[in-house]
């Protein structure tokens, strides 16, 4: 390795010119993806921080709002996302084994589950719209004691689930790209880095939801 030179790079098609070898390139991609996920944790962390502050200020108001969340759809969506993480793992496994058809099948399945999640999320948003639970001038709340405080919760609800949904949409775009790449025979058992990296991203987005679901839907149901 000490003597490796640019000329070595010519032999490996997926090795970019500035890396010594594939191992170094994979190390860089993996570390880069994890660092990116750390920035994502901090990004959502700001909203979780705001949630924590307001929930400790207004615990009763926050608890009362969770009776207006659609727990059934939320629970189904949680299941959908956990299952999509499983299919994503299977896609990575198929890539390791170099099974092109299996990669495409599992990626398509993951994409369908992601779209199912987003469709159910749309149904929920529509319910909120009908119930006047969208923060803003037309906001209404059933319990007159908590109108303003509940509006803050719904603001955070839409900010957090909305930001999560945007990440899901980006993920769906990335999955589509992967499917096209797989169909064009870009992956082999020796090189499947994009599948693995986007897999990490997909799991991260799922984990965010695992925190969002209890914090937004279930807090009022213990009393």
């Amino acid at each position: 390795m000490a003597d490796s030179d640019t000329t070595l790079a010519i032999h490996e098609p997926d090795l970019r010119h500035h890396f010594d070898d594939s191992a170094q390139q994979l190390d860089s991609s993996t570390l880069g993806m994890w660092v990116f996920l750390v920035t994502e944790v901090m990004f959502f962390g700001g909203m979780f921080g705001a949630y924590t502050v307001y929930r400790s200020m207004y615990p009763e108001a926050f608890a009362s709002t969770s009776h207006f969340m659609n727990v059934t759809i939320g629970a189904i969506n949680t299941g959908v996302l956990i299952f999509s993480s499983f299919t994503m793992v299977m896609a990575v496994r198929s890539a390791q084994l170099g099974q092109k058809k299996a990669i495409i099948a599992f990626l398509v399945l993951t994409l369908i589950l992601g779209c199912l999640f987003l469709s159910l999320k749309y149904v929920e948003y529509h319910e909120k719209w009908v119930d006047h639970h969208i923060p803003g001038p037309s906001f209404q709340y059933q319990d007159p004691r908590y109108v303003h405080q509940a509006q803050i919760l719904f603001f955070l609800y839409f900010a957090m689930t909305g930001m999560h949904a945007i990440h899901m949409i980006v993920g769906a775009g990335l999955l589509t790209t992967l499917i096209v790449m797989a169909a064009c025979n870009r992956f082999s058992g020796a090189w499947y880095t994009p599948v693995e990296m986007i897999g990490l991203y997909w799991h991260f987005v799922d984990i965010v939801w695992i925190f969002l679901f209890p914090l937004l839907y279930l807090i009022g149901h213990t009393q």
Binding site: A2, T6, H18, S28, G32, F155
Partner: protein, 544 residues
């Protein structure tokens, strides 16, 4: 390695500058050195835009009544702050010198993600154009801090557009940091162990940690601010149960660590310069290296000292005050070690070293007055006065801009392949030093006597000091214009630079040609000696 590239002995050696002249070869380049130059030119442009707003402020403050309407003055200081902080100081050294030098200093052919590096420049430009659009449309008047609920509810200026500009450019900063972290971890040349990393690289590693951990928080804060401004749900409005102090917490969680984004790279440059022009190994290499990381880590724990008078709990303030004092320790380690490096060294007085001296003195004043401000009782007296302005300008301008200019001069031969005119450069360094002190030292006194910041008017007894400050600012402006002129001249007409004009240590001088070829080295560099080996220990056999 016996292979030498075929062009190595021809008369005009191909380098990253002459390899291609077309505009596409610049706008679509993935070469970190060309991207560094793209950043250099765009950052310089923003520096002068931000400086123009400062000129407007200083002109207004010549007389107690001022000449601008209050609203105009509010916009002047806001846009000065936003452009200088987000579009000059944050990217200044990392995106230019860091981008150019980090890969070369560790013996890599490029950053780990060259295309992401180019993307970061485009994000910077898009964010900058959005922010400038807001300026042209009439500007913004919230102060660079965007404090709610004024920014979210009451201001009738272009808050959202400006926030989008800052948001987008934030991702440029994140991507630069991410690229540096990965590059430093995975792409070091054989023999380039962590304990041989130049301190320039250590400083940029610490900076990158802050960029990666802090910037996403300001991004989401600005998203919440924008949503609140559209929806008026009251999340930062105390009238309906929102908490404006929460905004300040979120804002400073990024923006305090961000002031270390704006000084650590300066310290990184100074460590190189001091060691080179003292002809001595840096004193206490390990301490200087680790102190960068310590500043980055501690920097995340002190944001509450911006909220001493904002209604934060007194116990929280005491903890934040104590933690703020702790930051002085790694900062002082650096200053003492630079001084100890010069002790009994063969100090010479080239231009970069003059900026190095300026940095040490001015940063010390800026840092020590920071301790005044970390003391709660004194902070209550000088909060939101010119004392605070003077303090952070001593660090940001006296520290960071001095280091930036020092670094530009130190590596100008490397970057351009030409020498700058030493006489003019020394003269400009002197003008900058005099102009800077005349501008900002009177502001310490003004602040201590109680002149508040961000006011367009002031009582007549403050006029003498304000006129001194404006006079100093005029001298400072001249000091900044002179290097632009002679560096532009030197880039075309300056004498050709030798390979290593300063006889400096480091891969960028010793093993990479001047100016470097596209892939930085003609053969794989190998590191065989400790860093800053100026004491003359013979390196082991060169491989080449």
């Amino acid at each position: 390695m016996s292979t030498t590239l075929p062009f190595a002995h021809t008369e005009i050696r191909p380098n990253y500058l002459n390899v291609d002249y077309g505009w596409k070869s610049w706008l679509f380049t993935t070469d970190h050195k060309r991207i560094a130059l793209l950043y250099l030119f765009s950052i310089t442009a923003f520096f002068f835009v931000g400086g123009a707003f400062a000129v407007g402020m200083r002109v207004n403050l010549l007389t107690p009544e001022g000449i601008f309407a209050h609203d105009t003055y509010n916009k002047l200081f806001t846009m000065h702050g936003i452009i200088m902080v987000f579009f000059f100081l944050v990217p200044s050294i990392p995106a230019t010198l860091g981008n150019f030098l980090v890969p070369i200093m560790i013996g890599a052919r490029d950053l780990a993600f060259p295309r992401i590096n180019l993307l970061s420049w485009y994000l910077y430009i898009i964010g900058g154009v959005i922010a400038l659009t807001a300026v042209v449309q009439g500007g913004v008047d919230t102060g660079w801090t965007f404090y709610a609920p004024f920014s979210s509810t009451y201001s009738n200026t272009h808050v959202i557009l400006t926030a989008i500009g800052v948001f987008v450019s934030g991702f440029s900063s994140i991507l630069t940091g991410l690229n540096f972290i990965v590059t430093i971890h995975t792409m070091r040349a054989p023999g380039m162990t962590w304990s041989r990393l130049p301190l320039f690289v250590w400083g940029h590693y610490a900076t990158s940690l802050i960029q990666v951990l802090g910037t996403p928080v300001i991004a989401i804060t600005l998203v919440l601010l924008g949503l609140e401004r559209v929806l008026h749900a009251g999340i930062f409005d105390p009238a309906v149960g929102g908490d404006p102090v929460l905004f300040q917490h979120l804002f400073w969680f990024y923006s305090h660590p961000a002031v270390y984004i704006m000084i650590l790279p300066g310290m990184a440059v100074i460590s190189e310069i001091i060691s080179c022009f003292s002809r001595k190994s840096i004193f206490g290499y390990t301490f200087v290296a680790i102190s960068s990381i310590a500043i980055a880590v501690l920097g995340f724990l002190v944001w509450g000292h911006h909220l001493f008078v904002a209604g934060q709990s007194m116990y929280a303030s005491m903890v934040f005050s104590f933690l703020s004092f702790l930051v002085a320790i790694p900062s002082a380690i650096k200053v003492f070690n630079w001084t100890a490096t010069m002790y009994k060294g063969s100090v010479s007085y080239e231009t970069p070293m003059l900026y190095g001296f300026g940095f040490i003195g001015l940063f010390t004043i800026g840092g020590l007055t920071g301790l005044f401000l970390a003391t709660m009782a004194i902070d209550v007296h000088v909060t939101d006065t010119y004392f605070v302005i003077a303090h952070f300008h001593y660090v940001m301008v006296g520290g960071m801009v001095m280091a930036y200019l020092g670094g530009i001069h130190f590596w100008f031969p490397k970057i351009s392949g030409r020498m700058y005119p030493e006489g003019w450069a020394k003269f400009a360094a002197l003008v900058v030093f005099v102009g800077f002190n005349l501008t900002f030292f009177p502001q310490f006194i003004l602040g201590y006597q109680g002149m508040p910041r961000r006011y367009a008017h002031y009582p007549p007894e403050f006029q003498v000091l304000n006129v001194m400050s404006t006079a100093g600012a005029s001298i400072l402006a001249v000091g900044y214009l002179i290097p632009i002129i002679y560096l532009t001249w030197a880039w075309r007409k300056g004498p050709k630079a030798p390979q290593n004009p300063w006889n400096a240590k480091g891969l960028e001088w010793e093993q990479s040609p001047t100016p470097p070829p596209t892939f930085n080295f003609e053969h794989q560099p190998v590191v065989t000696e400790p860093p800053y080996n100026y004491s003359g220990e013979e390196p082991e056999v060169e491989i080449g």
